[in-house]
């Protein structure tokens, strides 16, 4: 516990577990997996979150459940192309097609539970 207590991924994992537990109790079902959308700009590291999830599940209704993460790439709006474009690199916020610099992030900040697998 101590090794990960400095990571915010643990508190995020605990929020996910709590959220799923509430649904499980309310609907009287068992949750076997949690589906999560994780944006590359969310500030949350996938590996650290997976590690924390196991710990957060311990002793809860979610014990033994899986966290299934769908990583969402960063998408920006390009003013020149008038459309959304996926960034080629997190170190270069520019349209991959025309090179126009853009700070307008459309996707990539997601941190959202999208579904539960129930039994």
């Amino acid at each position: 516990m101590k090794a990960v207590s400095g990571m915010h991924e643990l508190s995020i994992a605990m929020s996910i577990v709590q959220m799923a537990e509430e649904e499980a109790t309310q609907r009287n079902v068992r949750v076997s997996a949690v589906h999560l959308k994780l944006g590359m700009l969310s500030g949350v590291v996938k590996e650290a979150l997976l590690f924390s999830y196991g710990i957060a599940c311990d002793g809860t209704l979610l014990q033994g459940s899986q966290l299934l993460i769908e990583e969402i790439p960063v998408e920006v709006f390009c003013d020149t192309c008038q459309g959304n474009r996926k960034l080629a690199s997190m170190q270069w916020f520019a349209c991959p097609d025309c090179g126009t610099a853009t700070p307008m992030v459309v996707h990539g900040k997601e941190l959202e539970v999208t579904a539960l697998e129930i039994q």
Partner: protein, 230 residues
């Protein structure tokens, strides 16, 4: 829900919803009180506290100001900031690496600080964890000192994206450490095109006037929006 596949229950819930709800309530409350809230994030050792002390000293001549300061264990920063004569309150986070909106809310409770023009929130020194948490601030500053690597914005694009303005600190040391200003500016703008950048030295005061003027202006703009709405 009726059209969802069997055994798969779609729910769509933002994991940070609880924090966001509190942050929104804080922002509305600050807005109604006319308080402009500025948060500061940076690595440890960037000079957040010296920069904030200088900010508080200058602003308190014209405005009612106060600061909340997050720190893992000690109250050293709060003690240093108190030298500015502005009201300062410590949020000790223990082992937690960032501030959350609920901590700001709890700290404000029972703190008889009166009506404020500016509230500053100094986050825990960390360029990773604070980026995900809305604290109800109007403006988030990310600080970077000339003694850090010029590639820091490239290493931490997320925090630079979550901030509104960048401040380069310790400019008085720029020549001594052969600070490559053009490279830092290019790197900041690579991860956040168009970001406003202030270059300051809290020690000599260089660059502080422009930044303080900017804060006062941003607050005035927000006030005029409130006036129009009401």
């Amino acid at each position: 829900m009726s059209n969802s596949q069997p055994r798969l229950l779609e729910i769509r819930k933002n994991v940070l919803k609880q924090n966001d709800v509190i942050a929104r309530a804080l922002r509305e409350r600050f807005h109604a009180q006319g308080t402009f809230v500025v948060s500061l994030v940076s690595s440890p050792g960037t000079g957040k506290t010296a920069f904030l002390e200088s900010t508080l000293r200058s602003l308190r001549q014209r405005f009612r100001v106060a600061a909340l300061v997050g720190d893992l264990a000690t109250d050293n920063d709060a003690a240093r900031l108190a030298r500015s004569q502005a009201p300062v309150k410590q949020i000790t986070t223990g082992t937690l690496c960032h501030l959350e909106a609920a901590m700001v809310q709890n700290s404000l409770e029972g703190w008889d600080v009166g009506e404020l023009d500016f509230l500053f929130i100094e986050n825990v020194g960390n360029l990773v964890c604070p980026s995900s948490y809305d604290l109800g601030e109007n403006l988030r500053l990310v600080l970077l000192s000339v003694t850090e690597g010029e590639d820091k914005p490239l290493k931490y694009p997320t925090i630079f994206n979550s901030a509104d303005v960048a401040v380069i600190t310790k400019m008085d040391l720029a020549a001594a450490v052969e600070f490559d200003e053009a490279a830092v500016m290019a790197n900041i703008h690579a991860v956040r095109p168009g970001m406003q950048v202030f270059k300051v030295s809290a020690k000599t005061g260089a660059g502080m006037d422009g930044y303080l003027h900017f804060l006062a202006q941003r607050r005035a703009e927000l006030r005029s929006v409130v006036a129009v709405q009401s």
